[in-house]
């Protein structure tokens, strides 16, 4: 395939390249998609000014949240639907997960003490360690989890 530059469309100047960025994904509850989503989350964080270590952390938190949905809400069924809404605000990144699986135990999102040799329970611990706000709600027929990560120096809600 050749690339004829003379016929290439002229790039349009970016219009309104400021303000919040948002996009959403609707994905199957298939663990093979985790790598796709975490790399997207890390790229979004990098675009929004987070440092490399923070981008890796955000990708990990997103991965852990999705893994929890697949494992607990959908009991490892791979053909269910998960919505992920991402929005970059001036001061933070916000990720909202919506699934129609079984409800979660809200106590598990409260950060349990870590037992060093326990096999489970580290996912929610990691999410809480990395993200600044974690809010789980059971809505009629669905679960909604909202994660926020503020930019360094951004004012957080008290």
């Amino acid at each position: 395939m050749s690339c004829n530059k003379e016929n290439a469309p002229e790039l349009l100047p970016a219009q309104g390249a400021s303000g919040p960025l948002k996009f959403q994904m609707r994905m199957a509850s298939d663990p093979r998609l985790l790598a796709v989503v975490r790399s997207t989350a890390a790229e979004l964080a990098a675009v929004w000014g987070f440092k490399d270590e923070q981008c890796r952390g955000i990708a990990l938190a997103i991965d852990e949240a999705l893994s929890n949905v697949i494992r607990h809400a959908y009991k490892n069924r791979c053909d269910q639907e998960i919505e992920l809404h991402c929005q970059a605000h001036a001061d933070c990144l916000e990720f909202i997960f919506v699934d129609r699986g079984e409800s979660a135990d809200p106590a598990k999102f409260c950060g349990q003490p870590l037992d060093e040799v326990a096999l489970g329970g580290r996912g929610t611990h990691l999410i809480r360690q990395i993200m600044d706000e974690v809010c789980y709600e059971r809505l009629p027929g669905r679960n909604r989890l909202c994660l926020k990560k503020f930019l360094p120096g951004a004012r957080r809600k008290v």
Partner: protein
């Protein structure tokens, strides 16, 4: 995620490559537990691991528990920044025997 196994006198080395997440950690767990059955010392090379999540960490903890129960040795080496960060966030850096290089791991 892929694994390859090498033998040294008294030691099995498992080279792990790729991402360890909930989709791939069951395979890693099985490989490591099977290898541990056949060796007194298991050395795990994580140098080519780009990513690990809590399910991967749980697999390593399970192998460590099995090694302790059977009086065998588990040594990890070649942890990159990503893997180190996850171990630190889960407060697990002290329970594993961790070395920088393969030579150091074989001497552990």
């Amino acid at each position: 995620m892929k694994t390859a196994t090498r033998q040294r006198p008294g030691t099995t080395i498992v080279d792990v490559t790729g991402d360890i997440d909930m989709g791939t950690s069951p395979g890693l767990r099985k490989t490591l537990l099977d290898s541990l059955k056949r060796t007194p010392r298991l050395v795990v090379n994580l140098r080519e691991v780009r990513y690990v999540d809590s399910s991967g960490i749980a697999s390593l903890v399970e192998v460590l528990k099995e090694a302790r129960n059977t009086e065998k040795q588990l040594v990890l080496f070649g942890l990159n920044k990503t893997v180190q960060e996850v171990l630190q966030l889960t407060h697990l850096t002290r329970i594993f025997e961790i070395r920088e290089t393969e030579e150091e791991a074989l001497r552990a």
